[in-house]
Every structure is written in C-alpha cells, then in structure tokens.
Symmetry: C2
Subunit: 640 residues, 2 copies
C-alpha cells in the first residue's frame, strides 16, 4: 500500500515549494470524469421572467443558475451553486486568514435570547418569529448577535481568552414585504456574519481594521468594484462603521462621492464642508448680533412655503430659519452616565417633542437627528401636535419665544445673524432674527442632508451622487449586546468587565448577483475567472468521430491540470452551442472542429468570453497555453 | 508574472499522474499559518451536561465540539465544525461521483407546495409551519420532495432529460417533542437529501443501486460500521427501501439480524421462515379439517388471557387463534385500480374495523397490518367498540360466526385445523376450530412480529435482536409526488407520462455523532483519520526555546505536506495537554521535549490515539514518517 502510494502522490506533494495546506489527498480516480452538458442540468431560457428588471435577475434565470420557489425564495441550480460556492470559499479563506474562527449555530434560535437582547420587540416585522408545537417562541435568524453572544457568555471567564473572533456562513431570513430583483432582495439568503469580542477598544479597532482589509480582498477577488463608505469622516479619526457598496440602478442607498478624493458616504450620514462661518461661541454670536436691526414681526398673508416667503421678501433662502416640530421615540435621558451604560439608561416611554431649526435652503437628515437625540426613531409631529406646541398651524413655527419644547439647531443656524423665522402665529413671521440675541438652542449639531454639489468634508472638492447596494458592512457594535446579555470577564487583577463587540456581515447571494451586474453584456454573463462555474467550455462542432476524440482528450488533459471543464456534448447546431456558451459566460471557450483538426498542424480555436477575437492554437500546446493563462490570472486575483 | 509562477506551481501540478480535479490553486501564503490552541476556540470541559446520557453527546460537549443554544438546537464550535465539514465533503464527493447534481433550494418553502402534495395535512405536528407577516403559509423543510418535484416539473418536457438526479446538503427542521441525545435527535439538523426522476422502473432501479453503493462507501469512509436493512427480503427480488443503521443503546429501531447470513431487517418489516406448513388452498384446508372433531363450545369461566386458557385447557398456545379488533384509518377502497393510482384513490374518511387473527403464541405487527390494509394507521378498538362488534367483552372475540366486520388472518392461522378461539360471548370459547371449515378470512397476510429466536427468511438461521439508529435511508418513492403535483414528460412518440421517483437521505449530525459512538474510550474521542478535525497534534512539553523552535518547524513542515496540524502552545502542565489531546482525539500526537531533543540524534515521540504505545522517531525523518502513514491510511479510507 505504501509503495503504491509513495510515487506519484508523493512527488506531487513534496516537490513544490508552495504551501499546500488543506489540499485533500489522495484524489479518487472515479471522480475524474469530464462534466458534460447532457449530464448536468442547465436549463437555459430564451424567455425572461416578467418581473426580472435587472440584469443579474434576468441572467441568473436565463443562464439556468437559479429558479424561483416562491416570492423571494429561490433554488440555485448546479451552475449557479458552483459560482455561489466559489464566493463562499473566497470569503471563508479570507476570514480564516485573519484568524476568524468558523462555527455553525442553528438557524432557528430560541426567542428568549432575543428577548434578552431586546430585539424581540425592537426588530420590527422583518423578524420572522415562530412558535413550535409546544408553544415555545423561536426566531428564524436574520443576523446572529444573540446566538454568538450567548455562546461566548457561557465560555468567557478570563481576559486571556480575548480577543475572540467568530463567524458563520449560514442561512438567514428577512421577512421582506416586497422581495424583488431576484436574490438581490430575497427573503431567505446566505450571509457570512462575524462577531468579535474584545477586552478594550484598541483590540476591537485592530479586528475592525483586519476585517476592513479582508473585505476589500474578498470583493477584489470576486472581481467587484466596491465603494467603501465610512459612516463618519476619516478626518475625525477612527471610523466605527463602514459599508461596502456597489453601484446599482436599483440601489437602496444614495451615496455621496467626492470628485477629487476618496471620500464616499451614505446620504444618511454624509457630511460636508460648511458653507458658512459659525461664531466660535455664544458670546461671539451675541457680539455679531449687536449690529443687527431689532427683531420685527411682519405680516406674511397666505404664505406657507420657504419659496413663497423668499419671493415675498425678495430674500435668499439662506437667511431663513426653517423650524420643524419632530417627535422622537425612546430618547435616552440627559443623564451623562447614560452614554456609558445604554442598557440601563432610562428611556422615556412616550415620544418627546423637539423644535428642529435649519437654514432655509437645507433639509434635515432624520438619521442624523435621531443619532443626535439618541432616539430610536424620529418623525414629523402631527398637525394637531404642531398646533398645540406652537400655538400656530404648520408653517409658522420658529425658535423665538418658543416655550415648552427644546430647540435643536443645525450648525448652519448659528451663523444666521439677520434672518427670518415663523412667529408662532398664523400669517406672521419675524425678521432681523439673530442667533444668540433673539434665541438660543439647547443643542447644536450637524443635522443637514448633504446633496450633490456640496463640498467634500475632507478636501473641499465637489460631491456627486450615486445609487448603491450594500454588499457588506463592518461595524463597531460596542456594548449593546454584551451589556444586555450580561457578558463579563475578569482582568489581570480579577476585576470584572464587559467585553466590547464588533459585527461584520456580507450577503453571499447579493455579492454573486452583483458580480453579474458588473460583468455581462447583451449576450450573457462574463464571469471573472475566480467565481466562474467552470473555467473552460469545450465546444465540439459535432460531437462525433475525430472531433469527439480530440474534445474528450483535451478536456481530460485540462482536468488533470486542475482546470474546471464543461464539455458541450449536445447534438445541437454550433450556433446554439455558441449562444449558450456566451449566455452562461464561461471565461474560456475552446472550439474543436473538423476543418481546424485537418492537416499537418491540427488546431483548436480559443476565445475568451471577455474578448471579441478568437485565436487558433496548436492542439498540442493548447492545454499548456490555457492552463498557464488561467493560472496566472487566478494568481493575480488571489494575490493582488 | 507568468515566469514567477511557472516553476514551482507548475512542477507541482503537472508532474503527478494522479488526477487533480478541483484542486484550487494557487494557494495563498498568508493562509499558511499553523493553528495554535491559544488562537482557536476549544473550550474543553471536565464536567458533563446532566442530560448527556450517551457517549457522543458527552464527548461533543466535553471536547468543545458543540454547545447548546436551546432545546434540540446546537452550535458547532470550530473543532466540531471541521469534522462536520469532512463528513459533508465525503458525502458530496460520493454523490458527485455517481452523477448526482447538487442544487440549493431555500429552507423555507411555500406552504402551497405542501398542500399540493398533501403533506401539509398528513405530515403531522413534527412539520413546523409558519406564517409570514403577510399571512402567507410556509414550511420549514424537514425533507424536500415538494421543492425538488416543483423544480423538475417546471423544467421537464422530454424523456431525453431523464433520468435526473439532484441533491442538496442543507438545513432541515423537525419539531421533535422530546429532543435528546445531543445532535442524535435534535430539532434542527443538516441532511443530504437526493431525489431522482425516471422514465421507467429500470432507470429508477439503476439509480437506487448506485445510491446504495455510494451510501456504503460514505459510511465506510467515515469509519462507520453500518447495518444495511432492507425493507423486504432480498429473496423476493429488488428491494424498494433500505435503511442504514448503526447499533446504538438508545436506538429508535429494533433490528433482527441473522446469525448465519447477511439478513437484517427492522422489526417493523422483518419476516421469518414460517414454522408451520399452511395448506396450499382453501380446498386443501377443508380436506384436512375433515378429520377434525366437530367444533364445540366450552365454558372458560374467569379466563381472559391466552396463558390462562393454555393452562386451563392444558394446550399449547400454538393451537389458539388470537383475535383482536382493530380500527384502521384512511383505508383505501377495494377498487383494484386504487393500487395503481394512490393519489386519486378513494379513502374512507371514518375508521374501518377489522377482526385480526393470529396464532396464540405470536404478536401482531401493526406496521405490517397497516400496510396489508393500505391504511394510514391502525390501533386497537376501544372496549365499547369491541362489545358492539363482537357482542362480548374484550377477550372473547373469534372468527367463527363473526358478522359485520372482515376477518383478516395472519398466514399462521390457516394451518390451524384443531384450534381454540373466543366464542363471541363472555366466558365461552370454541375448541376443535378448523380454518376453512369453521371460518374463512377475507384476507390472509404476513402480520406477525418477528422475534429473536425466529428463523431467518433467507437461510433459516437463528435471528437475534439489536437496537439501531437510522443514519440513512434510500427509498423508491414511485409516483406519489409526481402524480400529486402533476409532473409529466413526453416519450419518443409524443405521449405523456408521469416520471417515477426515488429519494435518498443521510443525516449529517447523526452520522458525525455515530462516528464518536463507535470510536471512543474512557479518555475521549478516537477520531478516524478521515473525519478528524486535525490529523496531528503537536505537543511541546514547554513552548519555549529550542522546544518551541522544533515544534514550530515540525508543524510547518507537516502543513507544507498537506497535513492538518494543531499545535498546543498553551502554558499548561504536560499532563493537562495530554489529557486534552486524548479528549479531542486527534489521531497522531507528536510530543516534543527537551530530553528527547538533546544529544546527537534528537527525537520526538509519536503516538497514535488508537494505540497504547508511543515510538521515538528521529526528528529529521518524523515529517516523512508521519506524512507517509497518514497518506496511506487516507488512501485506504478513500479507495477501500
């Protein structure tokens, strides 16, 4: 036995200098057959499903990668699954490479864990809850903070066990009301989600940086151009949240990008360079206001919008103070310790109201507002509430003389020293309003919605907009789950602490679909080699006689070199085979026909899917030629 | 780029003669680090969970392979997942090798598919149904006949597409009322389930045989001794159902095995060689009965059991005709066409009653009875029903003179030509009862429960009993789903037909747990090399100085040879490390210590987990020595 083995296997393994970890040997010869089109299941379509409005959805159905089982529920067919597994493998390799450890919790998780974290109630209706026959509550996991935190809680005792970095690649479910765009927004999907646990911020930051680099490599290896979007500006030091976006006509997100530098941000969090010079202090504001004419009440009959007011007063919208009444839910108490211990923070159970001011030409960004107020949600107050709180109908709120609710101001408001605002009565406004003199804000913050044309917060360049879809997200979670679920460890001195957490997700289905979005033409998919279901498709013009023999031999030789080959052995016209080969998008096509085989120098035709022209290659060097090119390209993917 | 690559990688790939399909190259050097114990997550335990009554459950927890998330819900930790993935890989390779194609349907499946098949109602409470926020019905898949049939239905048109053989390895859920024994009977689990579709029985039989062989290879490669249990005797020609069992103290199944031949059967279906000679026809029975004394009614006061009757009459239980009244649910109509088209068969909605007779020393097998009656379920009639139907209390039923309900007889009854039975009145029995003369049966069938000591139906040898757990099942499903869900294809002549189906499952979690059941001792797991989480554990006595250097070097060299190495770099006493190494059961342990390293011929200690003795090996040949042994053993696993 030993001898039989010793020769080829051993030579094979030990001659290279390249590392070979996890090469599983020996291979079994019975697994060595060429995959033929008639022996697999690739139901290509001429017709496209009516609801398939984006290219990846259309092509995944047309190329036979995917079928529908229900609304937002799909089945990957053999070809689709091969590419899916390659994406999975790339992600797994990059997670393993940064020392993240794979585990596999159940998909169905006890509801009690979600009650502990609070997400049982706060997650909303996208969380699919279920009851089993004994009436116990369960959750079909959309993410797995609770499960991972529970596992770590039970095992963690000492700081020596930290940091701990765990991930899974597993089925998830989100109860989308309107699933669409194929697997781009499905109900069931597969996500890689990782969670890290740390004794301190520095350790969390290191893992966060490692993850960011791993994510960049993952997307690069998949052939994707992603836009990393930081939640807060890099200029302010360490970012705590980064989204990895791909440009998409049907993107959920609006991105703001700088024409001059790398700045990219989600509109929800985008900042810009101020186009005003705020006073450095309230005193300075008062000093400036000293030269402003006294505040004056004016009649503004039948005027409701800023635009109407502008033309009525013949003034720029930049001199107006727009004031909106907001209702905020679950606002944290003002107790400064609340910031440090959010789990125990008092919450006001009923909504709280705020008057929110911003310069007339700008819009309030509700995500920023909620963050500034530490509220779970903000929404415009009802007309009745506005009337009750401002003594005036909607349209006449203003900060001057407003009693009973706090005034929150965007930074832009503090530089207004001769402005216009509502006078808390129908058809009345104030003019010559000066911040600091006529009103103050209980809080100033960046609340503005950044738009195309605004200036980059980093370099001052012009910002522009794109629609984007999120493929991945890395996020410093902090103490939310470890506090709520009572996780602790002892430090060197035996003192108990709560670990801090990071979480990091990538949607696999969406990543695969995005590869197709980025790599296709009118004829079909153009797979990057790294995630192609097969690397080579061998197309005999007629699978018969000498052509069949040559096709079989070439295929087998390629397979022996480690190349993944699909052989189109169908009795179809060449045109049909070429059309299907283009549709399913295998990177290399080798056509074998009688004409090129004849003569002294038999040749085959080699064509890359991404190129227009084919080449004639000597049949005796074709295997080496193709293998070398594929190897070089894969090497580049893996090590760029 | 090409040149840098051309040398080592290429030499490596092309020099071997062995096939190398799906070797994914090039490897990345950054993935080449030794896995150290302090860098992974192996929370071994001294304590055992109180509910862990079987070895695999205890050891999966103690060795840090598994943790509990809820009742019947678990998380595989890194070490457990590595072994789990190896089982998965073995199954995938063997499925691929027989041309079965992997797909990935969603786990959550629309309820409407289950309504089409009828299993929405018939599956019982183990089926976890769910409603989403829009009120739509879904099923959390326990198996996937419906999903696969729906996919094939939509694509199938011509006989040329058949046979079609598809599988998935995916999450499943069964709403067990009493999950226990760890992953051996969990709620969520992973199953490989395959479904094949065929134009005719011969094609189905071929796939069924291929699957049977693949299953045998899978279990052999996992190091498992399985007992293949055929549902019907091989003697009767092609079997339509085969279960793969492992012996287990907590097995759900009772198996009957022959001491002399290969016969093995589940007690539910086990047959035996008759210990009687039945008449060949009713006429022959009548002829034999001619010499029996006339039937006679006798008083049997206060006698209820067969045993009491035996001693009262001083007769052998073999001369008694035991008669039990059964209620059967959903009995198919007697219409002979019903057998051919079960989906449309009429069913009696209310239960039907039957008098079931068997020889006094035997017991009725209710599974056989239900099958004979084509009923979904059978159960003993209530006392009230017995009184109403036999005009006597329980204990005095008999076939003689019984009106209004059909008499069903076990084959053993027809050879009774001078027997005793109840006389349909309290404290009265008949004697000198002869089959054919005094009563007839409307159906005779094999209804007996086979017991240890009965004779093998194949060779006549003695049968004995074992408890077993089912790991896999292959089954000729027939037309049940394809008819119910209207699947059809056109034959060569354009005529429409319904395809026939087979289904084939293996539980991965249970397979892994069974490996541990079969391979462990008091100190821990003894992994077979094929599914071990790592192949070698390197244990430096103290991870420091020259020992550390030698341990690092040896580990890296083994990894370069493709061996999976875990390095115990903890600052623990050697005894602790050895105990943990035994507990987690890595097949090869290499101990590196100062003493053996000193001197001219530095040595390391190599010990196999399954052997008592260790060997001292020259450190310079240790890598080659270990690699060769592992390679040889793996080769044997894969190709035996």
């Amino acid at each position: 036995m030993n001898r039989a083995l010793a020769s080829p296997e051993k030579a094979l393994i030990s001659q290279g200098n390249a590392p070979l970890r996890s090469l599983s040997f020996p291979r079994l010869s019975r697994y060595d057959e060429t995959m033929k089109v008639t022996q697999t299941f690739i139901p290509t379509l001429r017709e496209v499903p009516a609801d398939a409005v984006i290219a990846s959805h259309r092509l995944m159905f047309r190329a036979g990668l995917l079928r529908r089982l229900g609304n937002g529920l799909f089945a990957y067919l053999p070809l689709g699954l091969r590419s899916f597994r390659k994406v999975e493998k790339i992600i797994r390799e990059e997670m393993d490479a940064i020392g993240c450890l794979e585990i596999k919790p159940s998909v169905v998780v006890p509801g009690e864990l979600w009650k502990e974290s609070g997400r049982w109630d706060s997650m909303g209706e996208a969380l699919l809850k279920l009851k089993n026959r004994l009436g116990a509550d369960f959750v079909m996991s959309p993410t797995a903070e609770e499960a991972f935190t529970a596992i770590v809680r039970d095992e963690l005792s000492s700081y020596r066990q930290l940091p701990l970095s765990l991930y899974q690649i597993n089925t998830k479910y989100r109860d989308e009301v309107r699933p669409r765009y194929g697997v781009m927004r499905g109900r069931e999907f597969v996500m890689k989600d990782a969670y890290t646990f740390h004794a301190n911020e520095e350790s969390l930051d290191k893992s966060y940086q490692d993850m960011g680099r791993a994510y960049r490599r993952i997307f690069r290896r998949c052939g994707l151009s992603v836009i990393p979007v930081k939640a807060d500006s890099g200029a302010m030091g360490g970012s705590g949240s980064e989204e990895f976006m791909v440009e998409s006509e049907i993107g959920d997100n609006t991105l703001l990008l700088c024409k001059s530098c790398e700045y990219a941000a989600n509109v929800e969090k985008a900042e810009c360079k101020p186009d005003f010079s705020p006073p450095s202090s309230l005193d300075e504001a008062k000093t400036i206001a000293a030269s402003t004419p006294p505040i004056e009440k004016i009649d503004t009959p039948e005027i409701k919008t800023i635009e109407e007011l502008c033309s009525f007063l013949k003034a720029d919208a930049k001199t107006f103070i727009k004031t909106l009444i907001y209702k905020a839910e679950n606002v944290e108490s003002e107790n400064p310790s609340a910031e440090k211990n959010s789990a125990e923070a008092e919450k006001s159970s009923a909504g709280k109201f705020f008057a929110v001011c911003i310069r007339g030409d700008l819009d309030i960004n509700e995500t920023k507002l909620a963050a500034a107020l530490k509220a779970s949600e903000v929404s415009l107050a009802s007309e009745a509430d506005v009337l009750r709180l401002t003594n005036a109908p909607v349209g006449f709120a203003g900060p001057v003389g407003l009693k009973g609710i706090p005034v929150i101001a965007d930074f832009s408001v503090s530089s207004i020293n001769d402005g216009v605002c509502g006078a808390l009565a129908k058809d009345l406004h104030y003019r010559h309003v000066a911040y600091g003199r006529d009103f103050e804000a209980s809080m100033s913050a960046d609340l503005r919605t950044v738009k195309a044309g605004d200036n980059c917060p980093l370099c001052g360049g012009e910002l522009y907009e794109k629609k984007g879809n999120e493929l991945g997200h890395i996020f410093k979670l902090g103490y939310k789950y470890t506090r709520a679920m009572n996780v602790s460890f002892l430090d060197e001195n035996g003192k108990s602490h709560t670990p801090t957490m990071g979480c990091y997700g990538i949607g696999l289905d969406r990543t695969l679909a995005s590869v197709i979005e980025e790599h296709h033409d009118d004829d079909g998919i153009i797979w990057p080699l790294s995630v192609a279901p097969y690397q080579v498709i061998v197309v005999p013009i007629k699978y018969d006689g000498a052509v069949k023999e040559a096709a079989d031999k070439l295929s087998l030789e390629l397979i022996r070199e480690g190349i993944e080959v699909l052989l189109d052995d169908r009795e179809e016209r060449p045109g049909v085979k070429f059309k299907d080969a283009d549709l399913i998008g295998i990177p290399y096509r080798v056509v074998i026909g009688d004409k090129n085989l004849a003569g002294e120098n038999p040749k085959v035709e080699v064509k890359r899917r991404c190129e227009k022209e084919s080449r004639l290659v000597d049949i005796n060097t074709a295997v080496e030629d193709i293998t070398e090119k594929i190897r070089a390209e894969l090497y580049e993917f893996a090590n760029s």
